[in-house]
C-alpha cells in the first residue's frame, strides 16, 4: 500500500513543464469534457467542460442553484454525471463502480461548509480517519495526524472533541483531515461560508499556504467573490450548469465579460456611489466616465500621470486594488461636457493607455 510511505511528498513536483514563478504546471489534474447531469427537469450541469491545472487554486463561483455543488461532487464521484468524461490524473472516473472509486477518493481531500467532523471522535481520531480507511497502522496514523494538527496550529486540541472547538478551529481540523492521506487534489465546498469574515481570512490564508508549501491543487466553490479574490489563481463563473466565463482572477476582475460576473463582482469592486448614480440625468453638465485599467505601472506613478493628463477631469471615486501581484484600477471621473472636445479627448487618451472606458451618464456639479 503506497499510503504507508509516510515521507513521500505529493506528486506535484514529479511533472515537467512547471512554471518557475507560480509553480503551476500545465499537466492538468482534472479534465472535464461534455459533462451533463440532470435532476428531473433541472439541468444541473449542461455540457460542461473545465480543466484544473496542477498546483493552481481554481475558484468556481456562482449563485446558489448554479450547479456548483453538483460540479465539485462530480470530481470525487460522490455525484455521477449522466454523460461526459471526468479525468482525474488522466483516468476517466465516469462509469466506475463505488468500489473502483474508493481508492481514487483516498487521493482527493474534501472540506465542507459545515465541517462534517465526527462528533464521537476526538480531533486526533478525526484527522486520522482517512488514514484508517487507507489501511495505515495505528502508530503511523497517530504520528501523521499530529503532524497535520501541527500544520494547522491545533496540536493542543488533539484530545478534544469537535463540540469544544470554534467554527474556525473545526474547519482547521477539517483541512488537516482532508490533507492527512497526502492528496494531490483538495476540494473545498463553500468551506468558509459558515465562518465570520476574520476567521474566513485566516482559513483562506491557511489554504493558500498549503497550496504553496505542499503543492496541492485546490478546487473551491463559493458564492463569495472575496474568497476567489483572496486566494484564487483562476476563476470559473458558473451559471445554469455552464461555465460562462473563466480566466486568471486579476484578468476577470479587471475585465468581466458577462453581466453575471459583473454583478458577482459588485461587492468587491468600486461601484459608482448610489447617490450619484441616482442623480444621473441627460441634462447634466458633466459626463461620468467609468474606467478599468490593468497595468504594472499603476503602482509606480502611472495613476498620478493619468490625472495630470486630464486637468479638466474630477476624480470621483475608486482607486487601485491588488489581486495577487497585479495592480487593477477601477475609478470614476467627471469631465465637463462643454467644450465637447474635452470628453472625446479624455476617452481617446484613456483608450490609448489600454484602459476600458464607459460613459455612464451625465450629472451636474456639485455632486
Amino acid at each position: 500500500m503506497t499510503g504507508r510511505n509516510v515521507t513521500s511528498q505529493p506528486s506535484a513536483t514529479a511533472f515537467a513543464a512547471v512554471d518557475p514563478v507560480t509553480g503551476v504546471s500545465e499537466t492538468p489534474v482534472v479534465v472535464l469534457s461534455g459533462v451533463n447531469r440532470s435532476f428531473g427537469p433541472t439541468r444541473a450541469l449542461d455540457d460542461l467542460s473545465l480543466t484544473v491545472r496542477r498546483g493552481e487554486i481554481l475558484g468556481i463561483i456562482g449563485r446558489s442553484g448554479a450547479g456548483k455543488s453538483t460540479l465539485i461532487r462530480c470530481l470525487n464521484g460522490l455525484e455521477r454525471p449522466d454523460s461526459g468524461r471526468i479525468e482525474i490524473e488522466g483516468r476517466n472516473i465516469v462509469g466506475l463502480s463505488e468500489g473502483e472509486l474508493q481508492p481514487i477518493r483516498r487521493k482527493i481531500g474534501m472540506i465542507f461548509q459545515h465541517f462534517n467532523l465526527m462528533s464521537a471522535k476526538t480531533v486526533l481520531d478525526n484527522v486520522a480517519l482517512p488514514l484508517k480507511i487507507a489501511g495505515w497502522a495505528k502508530a503511523e496514523r497517530r504520528a501523521r495526524a499530529l503532524e497535520l494538527l501541527d500544520l494547522v496550529g491545533l496540536s493542543d486540541k488533539a484530545g478534544s472533541y469537535p463540540a469544544a472547538l470554534s467554527g474556525g478551529q473545526k474547519q482547521r481540523v477539517g483541512i488537516a483531515r482532508a490533507l492527512s492521506a497526502r492528496p494531490a487534489l483538495l476540494l473545498s465546498d463553500e468551506a468558509t461560508s459558515a465562518l465570520d469574515p476574520e476567521t474566513t481570512r485566516s482559513i483562506l490564508t491557511l489554504l493558500k499556504d498549503i497550496n504553496r508549501k505542499l503543492g496541492v491543487t485546490v478546487v473551491l466553490i463559493t458564492h463569495e467573490m472575496e474568497v476567489v479574490r483572496t486566494i484564487g489563481d483562476r476563476v470559473a463563473v458558473l451559471e445554469a450548469g455552464r461555465i460562462v466565463e473563466q480566466g486568471e482572477v486579476w484578468h476577470v476582475f479587471s475585465d468581466p465579460k458577462t453581466e453575471l460576473t459583473q454583478s458577482l463582482l459588485s461587492g468587491v469592486r468600486p461601484q459608482l456611489p448610489v447617490h450619484i448614480a441616482s442623480r444621473l440625468s441627460p441634462g447634466g453638465s458633466e459626463t461620468v466616465l467609468g474606467v478599468d485599467l490593468t497595468d504594472p505601472g499603476l503602482g509606480n506613478g502611472l495613476f498620478a500621470e493619468i490625472l495630470a493628463h486630464l486637468p479638466s477631469a474630477h476624480f470621483l471615486h475608486g482607486g487601485i486594488d491588488h489581486i495577487h501581484d497585479q495592480p487593477v484600477a477601477r475609478f470614476f471621473l467627471t469631465v465637463p461636457r462643454e467644450p465637447a472636445s474635452l470628453v472625446d479627448e479624455a476617452i481617446a487618451y484613456l483608450r490609448s493607455i489600454n484602459a476600458r472606458v464607459e460613459v455612464l451618464g451625465h450629472v451636474s456639479r456639485p455632486v
Binding site: 470525487n76 481514487i104 465542507f112 462534517n116 480507511i133 487507507a134 472533541y161 463540540a163
Partner: protein
C-alpha cells in the same frame, strides 16, 4: 413477610432480572443489525434496496402488531424447539426476545436516521466503503441514542416479563398476581412494586449515566 415468602421474592427478582437481561441482550444483538438494514436499504441509503426495505418493514410491523400475550402462546412451538420446553423462565426468554427485537430495531432506527448525512458524505469522500460508514460513522455517531433506546427497551421488558407468568415463567409479576392479588398478601404486593420501582429506576439511572458519558455532541 414470612421467610418462605421472602425467599420467593428473592427468587422472583432473580427470574425477572434473568428474563430481562437475556431477552434484552438478544433483542439488542438482533435489533441493531435490523435497524442498520432498515436505514441502509431505505431510499438514499448507503445500500439502497427498496424491496428489502419494505419487506423487512412489514415483518417488523407484523411482529409489533401482535399483542405480547398472544405472541407468548403463538410461539410455544418455536420455544419448545429452541429451549426444549414451553414452560419456565428460560422458555419465556424466547417470546420476550422476539417481541423486543423488532421494537428495539425501530427505536435504534430513529437514532441512526438522525446521524447527519454530511458525516456519511465525508466518510464516502475519504474513500470509505459501506462497512466503514457503519463502523466509523453510523454506529458511533448514533451511540448515545442507541444506548438510550436500549435502556427504554430493558424497562419495557421488565414490564413484559410480568406477563410471562402465564406460561409459568415466574418473576415478580407472577408473584404479585398469585400472592399479592389472589391470596390477598398486601405485603407481598407492596414489596414487589417497591422492588420494581427500584429496578426500573436503577436501569434508567445507569442508562442515562452511560449516555451522558458517550455523548460528545456538546
Amino acid at each position: 413477610m414470612s421467610p418462605v415468602l421472602f425467599n420467593l421474592l428473592l427468587q422472583s427478582i432473580w427470574e425477572t432480572v434473568i428474563m430481562t437481561l437475556a431477552s434484552g441482550v438478544i433483542s439488542f444483538v438482533a435489533g441493531l443489525p435490523l435497524a442498520l438494514v432498515l436505514v441502509a436499504t431505505d431510499r438514499g441509503g448507503i445500500a439502497e434496496n427498496l424491496v428489502v426495505n419494505r419487506a423487512l418493514g412489514w415483518v417488523i410491523n407484523g411482529f409489533r402488531s401482535v399483542p405480547f400475550i398472544i405472541l407468548l402462546v403463538a410461539l410455544i412451538p418455536l420455544t419448545r424447539l429452541l429451549v426444549g420446553t414451553s414452560l419456565g423462565t428460560a422458555a419465556a426468554i424466547v417470546p420476550l426476545a422476539i417481541a423486543a427485537a423488532p421494537y428495539y430495531a425501530r427505536v435504534a432506527e430513529v437514532s441512526l436516521r438522525e446521524v447527519d448525512p454530511g458525516l456519511i458524505e465525508a466518510a464516502r469522500a475519504m474513500g470509505g466503503n459501506r462497512w466503514t460508514i457503519v463502523r466509523e460513522v453510523l454506529v458511533p455517531e448514533a451511540l448515545p441514542g442507541i444506548v438510550a433506546g436500549f435502556t427504554v427497551t430493558l424497562v419495557t421488558l421488565v414490564g413484559a416479563s410480568a406477563m410471562a407468568g402465564a406460561i409459568g415463567a415466574g418473576g415478580l409479576g407472577d408473584l404479585a398476581i398469585r400472592y399479592g392479588y389472589q391470596r390477598f398478601e398486601t405485603g407481598v404486593m407492596i414489596a414487589v412494586v417497591a422492588v420494581l420501582i427500584v429496578l426500573v429506576s436503577g436501569l434508567q439511572w445507569f442508562g442515562d449515566r452511560l449516555v451522558a458519558r458517550l455523548d460528545h455532541r456538546g
